[in-house]
């Protein structure tokens, strides 16, 4: 048993933290949020040069790390600074699916991802699928020159900035069958693809993607994409839970600092036990969240049943902890915590939205019951 970082990971963490601290002043983030792409090309390239994107891929896929603890480390740092860069979408989901299922030629795209040149989005969820990974109504039919897709994908994060979409569509079976789901590589500018783009609470862009007679190539085999989708979604859930952990740490730090400096009734408000004990509880829940992330990182390559049990345990715990940290953080700050100008707001919004991706607390509690209790 060992909870220390290896030397390589320690170096990556130190380097990444330094880089992000420099690159991400609060003003830089505001500028990014206004940008057309939802992120800064300069920071993205900086991350690629540092090897941060490569650290999310395994060696056999052209990366140099890619284990659960590598993902956890990178995304915790991104969370700590409140970064809005869509690494989950381009690298963990998009790149992850290509690494898992791609042909030799398709896998060449991973190199472009790692070098920072390619931007991807995974168009999977639909207006009525909520968090159910096997509910796909978008349909694909085999034609003479490939497949033709029709349907609508909901809240596809990073789609407006991605030149390539990975689209799931049903090639057989009923709307919620696990079997019969296939994946396709679709250039965003392909004929029949329409994006309704918008910005997302907490930073970044997303789009509703409408597919109307879109011709596309298959990624992997027909009808058997479900397992790969579950696997990369598990990795993305780990990533977003680690990001949540970083966000929580930063909110706690800001709140702790505020309690030391803000004076009312002639003393720093941190002298009041009503607030002291609440922040102590926040701290305890964040340590629980850290342990939950470690548990998931350590089981991300386990069998699907064991892996998903940990995915659900961790995402459920993170969801509850995040809500406590956000609400207590704002409450203990008082009015200033509600202003757009103060740093807390961005962190709180980003952290709040994490319960809306890859399954919320209720979804994962229910799945945990299926896997562990029932």
């Amino acid at each position: 048993m060992n909870f220390d970082l290896t030397d390589e990971r320690q170096m990556l963490q130190d380097g990444l933290r330094r880089y992000l601290n420099d690159a991400y002043s609060a003003n830089a983030r505001a500028a990014i949020e206004d940008a057309e792409t939802g992120f800064s090309a300069e920071i993205w390239n900086g991350l690629a040069e540092m090897g941060v994107i490569g650290a999310l891929f395994r060696e056999e896929d052209g990366g140099f790390a890619g284990e659960g603890f590598d993902l956890a480390l990178v995304f915790e740092e991104l969370g700590r600074i409140g970064a809005v860069d869509p690494l989950i979408d381009t690298a963990v989901l998009g790149g992850g699916l290509i690494a898992e299922l791609g042909s030799g030629a398709q896998k060449e795209m991973i190199e472009a991802v790692i070098s920072g040149a390619a931007h991807l989005a995974f168009a999977h969820g639909e207006p009525t699928s909520r968090f159910d990974l096997s509910r796909v109504e978008t349909a694909a039919k085999k034609t003479a020159n490939g497949y033709m897709i029709n349907g609508r994908k909901a809240v596809v994060v990073n789609a407006p900035s991605a030149e390539t979409l990975i689209v799931s569509a049903r090639t057989s079976g009923k709307a919620s069958d696990a079997d019969g789901i296939s994946l396709f590589i679709v250039p965003t500018n392909a004929d029949g693809v329409t994006l309704r783009s918008y910005s997302v609470v907490g930073g970044g862009l997303a789009a509703e993607v409408i597919l109307n007679d879109v011709t596309a190539d298959l990624l992997g085999n027909e009808g058997t994409a479900h397992d790969a989708i579950s696997q990369v979604t598990a990795r993305a859930t780990l990533a977003i839970c680690a990001e949540a952990l970083g966000l929580m740490e930063s909110i706690k730090m800001l709140t702790n600092e505020y309690l030391k400096t803000r004076k009312q009734f002639g003393v720093p408000i941190g002298k009041f036990q009503a607030l002291q004990h609440r922040l102590a509880d926040v701290l305890i829940e964040i340590e629980q969240a850290r342990s939950a992330v470690i548990n998931l990182a350590g089981h991300i390559d386990a069998t699907p049943e064991v892996r998903d049990l940990h995915v659900s345990a961790t995402k459920n715990l993170i969801g509850d902890a995040a809500r406590l940290v956000v609400e207590e953080g704002i409450q203990m700050h008082g009015g200033i915590g509600m202003t757009m100008e103060y740093e807390l707001g961005h962190l709180a919004k980003r952290l709040t939205m994490i319960d809306h991706r890859f399954g919320d607390t209720t979804f994962h509690l229910e799945r945990f019951i299926e896997l562990a209790v029932g």
Binding site: M1, N2, F3, D4, L5, T6, R9, F69, N256, L259, K260, P268, G270, K271, Q273, Q276, H277, L279, A280, D281, L283, I284, E287, Q288, A289, R290, S291, A292, I294, N295, A297, G298, H299, H310, A313, N316, L317, L365, F368, I369, A372, V373, G374
Partner: protein, 398 residues
């Protein structure tokens, strides 16, 4: 980062398992499974078995006859003991007093008392709390006044756990009223047979006489029974509280409790199906299991820091709070799972060595008593509010 045990750690775990399989008396396991309390003789029997193996003093250094295990080995040992439903090792002599004697006691005290603890010659109890000194422990008023080569002790201790079995008590006594309250406290070893000592049981809400009041009326204690220096007792008491709280999270107890809860929820019927199929009840079990999974890892993180030589500070406060909240939730769910058969007052069936037939299912009999008894978890050893204040000062620096 590696969540798995090393080969050496696995070998050690297997050795502990094999030992427990061969040496843990079935009778004691049954008692503990049915929630029955153990007799003094039961504890002594189990201590003797462990001592014969050289494993009784799992937290002592080698020079005093301990195992010299590191924190991870101790964790494995405690974990396996709980999983096997072994009786707990009574902590008062072994893990509370002994480390104080080893660090601050005289050579004579070490040579005399430590072997007696190992051999079961002495049963110690803890004389800390008083009616006016609970969370504010430094407010102790029991006085020790020097009279030649004796101290004359007067006052009252309370919440003395298993004091009815003890022949010795280690006490915090006031030897000076000068300065801050902390500065006038001394650490004194007292023979319970000394004239002037009276022990009265306190019956708790579960019906058990687990704790006692101890009264001291002009009790003469030889001055060689003072540990360390006069008026330095607070330092030793704090050392005891921060350094020797192994297994404070109670992960093993929580795991055993959760398993028992699930077993009951599968057996109990609700609306024609097992209670565990009720989505509301299942959700409550799931939530506590998720918390426990994370807390087990929090515990291992602290254990592994300790194994690397870092003394756990406020982290043990964190574990105390989370660990006790989880165990109390499991107790509450277990009481709830027992349904109407949580109602019969079953103190007789839970008594040491009782063969009384419980009114309802055997698993339901101890549910209410255990729920009530474990309200103590968040009160003793520094209440959870005191622990939050420790976190506030030590980590949050407020």
């Amino acid at each position: 980062m590696d969540l798995n045990y090393t080969d050496a750690e696995i070998a050690f775990r297997d050795e502990v398992r094999a030992f427990l399989k061969a040496n843990l008396p079935e009778r004691l396991v049954d008692r503990s499974k049915h929630g029955q309390s153990l007799t003094k003789a039961d504890f002594e029997e189990w201590h003797a078995i462990l001592n014969a193996q050289g494993w009784l003093a799992s937290n002592w250094p080698k020079e005093f006859g301990g195992t010299a295990w590191n924190a991870i080995e101790r964790h494995i040992f405690e974990d396996e003991m709980t999983k096997a439903n072994a009786p707990r090792v009574v902590p008062f002599g072994l893990s509370m007093l002994a480390p104080v004697l080893q660090n601050f006691g005289s050579k004579e005290q070490q040579d005399y008392y430590l072997p007696r603890i190992l051999n079961g010659d002495d049963w110690w109890c803890q004389g800390y709390s008083e009616p006016g000194a609970g969370s504010d422990l430094a407010a102790v008023r029991t006085s020790a006044v020097r009279d030649g080569d004796h101290y004359i002790v007067n006052g009252q201790k309370t919440w003395t756990t298993l004091g009815q079995y003890a022949n010795k008590i280690f006490c915090l006594v006031r030897t000076s009223k000068e300065g801050k309250p902390q500065q006038g406290i001394s650490f004194l070893l007292i023979d319970m047979d000394t004239p002037g000592i009276e022990v009265r049981p306190i019956i708790l809400i579960d019906g058990t006489p687990e704790v006692n009041e101890v009264f001291f009326d002009n009790v003469r204690v030889p001055i060689e029974n003072l540990v360390g220096e006069e008026n330095k007792g607070w330092t030793y008491a704090k050392f005891l509280l921060t350094h020797e709280r192994t297994n404070i999270a109670g992960v093993g107890f929580a795991n055993a409790g959760l398993e028992n809860l699930k077993r009951i929820a599968r057996l109990e019927q609700s609306g024609g199906q097992p209670l565990i199929k009720n989505p509301h009840f299942a959700a409550r079990i799931a939530r506590v299991e998720i918390e426990l999974m994370a807390m087990s890892t929090t515990n291992l993180r602290v254990v592994s820091q300790a194994a690397a030589g870092q003394a756990p500070g406020a982290e043990s406060s964190m574990l105390k709070i989370k660990g006790t909240v989880i165990r109390q939730e499991i107790n509450a769910l277990t009481r709830s799972a027992a349904g109407t058969y949580a109602m019969p007052f079953a103190s007789e069936a839970l008594e040491e060595g009782s063969n009384a037939e419980p009114v309802g299912p055997a698993y339901a009999a101890p549910a209410t008593a255990q729920y009530l008894n474990n309200r103590k978890l968040s009160i003793f050893g520094g209440s959870n509010e005191i622990q939050r204040t420790i976190i506030t000062k030590a980590i949050l620096e407020l």
